[in-house]
C-alpha cells in the first residue's frame, strides 16, 4: 500500500465536503433528528424509570452507539457513491491505485465521520438531556471500535453490491444497514427475539456489542464474553467481506462493468 494514494483520495473527499453544505448537513441530520425524537421519548418514559431500571441509560447510549455503526457504514458506501456519481471510477481504476488502498481511504473517511458525529451527538445528549455517554465506562472504546468495524463490513458489502448491480442498487447505501438493525438488538435484549432469529443475531457482531453494553450498564459485570464474540466475528467477517470485494472487482473487470457503472 502507498500512503500518497490513500491521502489523495482523502484529500479529494475533504475538498468535496469543504464546498458542500448539503453534504456536511447530511452527516449531522439523521443523528441529530434521532437524538431529538428518541431523546424526548426517553424523557417521557423516564417517568416510569422505577419499572424499567436504567432505561434512559440503555436507550440513549444504544442510540448513540448505533449511529456510530451507521456512520461507519455510510463513510464507506457514500465515498464509493461519490466516485460513481462523479463518473470518476475509471480515472481511479486506471491509475496505480489498488483496491486495498481504495478501501483504506474509505475506511479513513469513515473514521473521520464517526468521530465528528460521535462528538456532536455526545455533546448534544449532555446539553439537552444531561446524559453522559461516558457512564458506559471503560468498555466504551472497545464497543465503539467493534461497531465501527461492523459498519465497515456492512459498508464494503453494500459497496460491492452497488459496484456489481450499478446505480439501481444505490438505495442499498441507506437501506442495507437497517436490515441489520433488528438483529443487532440495539434497544432490546437478544432473548426477546424468536429462537430462529436469535441464531441469526448470534452471527452479528453488533448484537454482541449491544448485549455487552447492557451487561456492563446493568449488572456492572465485565462483558468479556460478549466482546470476545464481537471481536472474533468482526475479524472473520471483515476478512470475508474484503475477499468478496476483491472478487467483485475481478468480476466487474471481466464483464466490463467498472466502466459502465454510473451511466
Amino acid at each position: 500500500m502507498k500512503l500518497h494514494r490513500i491521502t489523495a483520495l482523502i484529500v479529494r473527499h475533504l475538498y468535496l465536503y469543504r464546498r458542500s453544505l448539503p453534504r456536511i448537513m447530511e452527516i449531522f441530520y439523521w443523528p441529530f433528528l434521532d437524538l431529538v425524537i428518541w431523546g424526548f421519548i426517553t424523557l417521557y418514559l423516564a417517568r416510569y424509570q422505577s419499572q424499567v431500571p436504567g432505561f434512559v441509560t440503555f436507550f440513549l447510549g444504544a442510540l448513540i452507539l448505533w449511529d456510530m455503526l451507521f456512520r461507519a457504514q455510510q463513510g464507506i458506501t457514500i465515498s464509493f457513491l461519490e466516485e460513481l456519481w462523479a463518473r470518476n471510477l475509471m480515472n481511479l481504476f486506471a491509475s496505480p491505485l489498488k483496491p486495498s488502498e481504495f478501501l483504506a481511504a474509505t475506511m479513513a473517511m469513515s473514521v473521520m465521520k464517526v468521530t465528528i458525529v460521535s462528538i456532536v451527538m455526545s455533546v448534544c445528549a449532555l446539553l439537552f438531556y444531561s446524559y453522559n455517554i461516558l457512564i458506559v465506562g471503560a468498555w466504551l472504546m472497545p464497543f465503539v471500535l467493534n461497531l465501527v468495524i461492523t459498519g465497515w463490513i456492512i459498508g464494503v458489502f453494500t459497496t460491492s453490491l452497488i459496484m456489481r448491480f450499478g446505480q439501481e442498487a444505490e438505495v442499498l447505501a441507506w437501506s442495507m444497514v437497517f436490515l441489520f438493525q433488528p438483529i443487532s438488538c440495539v434497544f432490546y435484549p437478544m432473548e426477546v427475539l424468536p429462537t430462529w432469529l436469535q441464531m441469526i443475531a448470534m452471527a452479528n457482531p453488533a448484537a454482541h456489542v449491544f448485549e455487552g453494553m447492557r451487561t456492563a450498564l446493568g449488572a456492572g459485570a465485565p462483558p468479556i464474553e460478549d466482546l470476545a464474540w464481537a471481536v472474533g466475528l468482526n475479524g472473520a467477517l471483515l476478512v470475508g467481506v474484503v475477499a468478496w470485494f476483491y472478487r467483485t472487482v475481478a468480476y466487474c473487470k471481466d464483464q466490463g462493468l467498472l466502466v459502465r457503472v454510473g451511466e
Partner: protein, 247 residues
C-alpha cells in the same frame, strides 16, 4: 530499431457469446503515434480499456515496458495515462483541486510546479479556479487532457481527444502532442472519427472492424491498398460492410 513500449498479442474479449475484440495484435514503439480507427462498435474502446486494466481480456496478453500487465499492473499504470470524451472528473472540485488530487494519486514530486506548467501549457489559467461543474465541454476536455499529461506518462491513450474542442484549441492540442513525443519520446494510441486529423497525427493506423484488424499501415499505405481517394473513403467502406453484416 528500438523495442516496443507496448505489445498486445492475440487480444480477445468476449462478453458472453459476443466477441467484441477478436485476436488483435499490435505494437507501439517509443515516440510513435498509432491511430486506432473503426466504425462504432468495432472494439476500439474495449481495446483501450483492456490496455488500461479496466477490462480483463478473455485471451491474449498485454506487455508494456517489457512487463506483463496482468502481473505488473501498478508499475505499468504509473507510467501510462488516458483521456477520453467519455470520462469526467469530480464536478464539485475546482480544476486545480482535481489536478492536485491526480498529482497526489501518482505521487508526483514537485506538484506545484507540475500543476502550474500544465495549466499554462493547455491555456487553462483563465478557469483554473473554476468549479469543474461550470466548465464548457471544451474546457472539460482540456482538463482531462491536463490530468493525462500531468503524470508525465510514457504512453498516452486518447479516445477522441479533440472531439469537443474548437479548431484553434484542437490545433494547439495536436501541436502539443507532437511536441511531447518529439521532446520526451511519448507514445500515443489515438482514436478519432476525424479522418483528416488521423492522417495528420498518426505514424501508423490500425483499422478495426467487428473486433478484428482488417488493415494496418501508414494512412497512405491503407488508402493505396484499397484503391480509395482518401482515408475517409476507406472508413466508409469498412463501416458499411460492418453495418450490412450486422443488419
Amino acid at each position: 530499431m528500438s523495442s516496443p513500449v507496448l505489445k498486445a498479442s492475440d487480444l480477445t474479449k468476449r462478453f458472453g457469446d459476443f466477441t467484441a475484440v477478436n485476436g488483435v495484435s499490435f505494437e507501439i514503439r517509443p515516440g510513435e503515434i498509432l491511430g486506432l480507427l473503426g466504425p462504432n462498435g468495432a472494439g476500439k474502446t474495449t481495446t483501450i480499456q483492456m490496455l488500461l486494466g479496466l477490462v480483463t481480456p478473455t485471451a491474449g496478453s498485454i506487455h508494456m515496458f517489457d512487463l506483463d500487465l496482468s502481473t505488473h499492473r501498478e508499475e505499468i499504470l504509473q507510467q501510462v495515462n488516458f483521456s477520453s470524451t467519455y470520462i469526467s472528473m469530480p464536478q464539485s472540485l475546482t480544476v486545480e483541486e482535481n489536478l492536485w488530487v491526480v498529482a497526489r494519486l501518482y505521487g508526483i514530486s514537485d506538484m506545484a510546479r507540475r500543476v502550474n506548467d500544465i495549466v499554462k501549457k493547455l491555456e487553462m489559467e483563465e478557469f483554473r479556479g473554476k468549479v469543474t461543474r461550470k466548465l464548457s465541454s471544451g474546457q472539460m476536455t482540456r482538463l482531462t487532457l491536463a490530468k493525462a499529461f500531468l503524470t508525465e506518462p510514457r504512453i498516452l491513450f486518447l479516445d477522441e481527444p479533440t472531439a469537443s474542442l474548437d479548431p484553434d484549441i484542437a490545433d494547439k492540442i495536436r501541436s502539443l502532442l507532437k511536441e511531447e513525443r518529439r521532446s520526451s519520446g511519448l507514445s500515443i494510441l489515438y482514436t478519432s472519427h476525424n479522418m483528416r486529423e488521423m492522417e495528420e497525427m498518426s505514424d501508423r493506423i490500425i483499422f478495426l472492424q467487428r473486433g478484428r484488424i482488417v488493415a494496418e499501415g501508414t494512412a497512405q499505405d491503407i488508402v493505396d491498398r484499397f484503391g480509395k481517394a482518401d482515408l475517409e473513403e476507406v472508413f466508409l467502406k469498412f463501416a458499411r460492410e460492418q453495418g450490412q453484416s450486422s443488419s
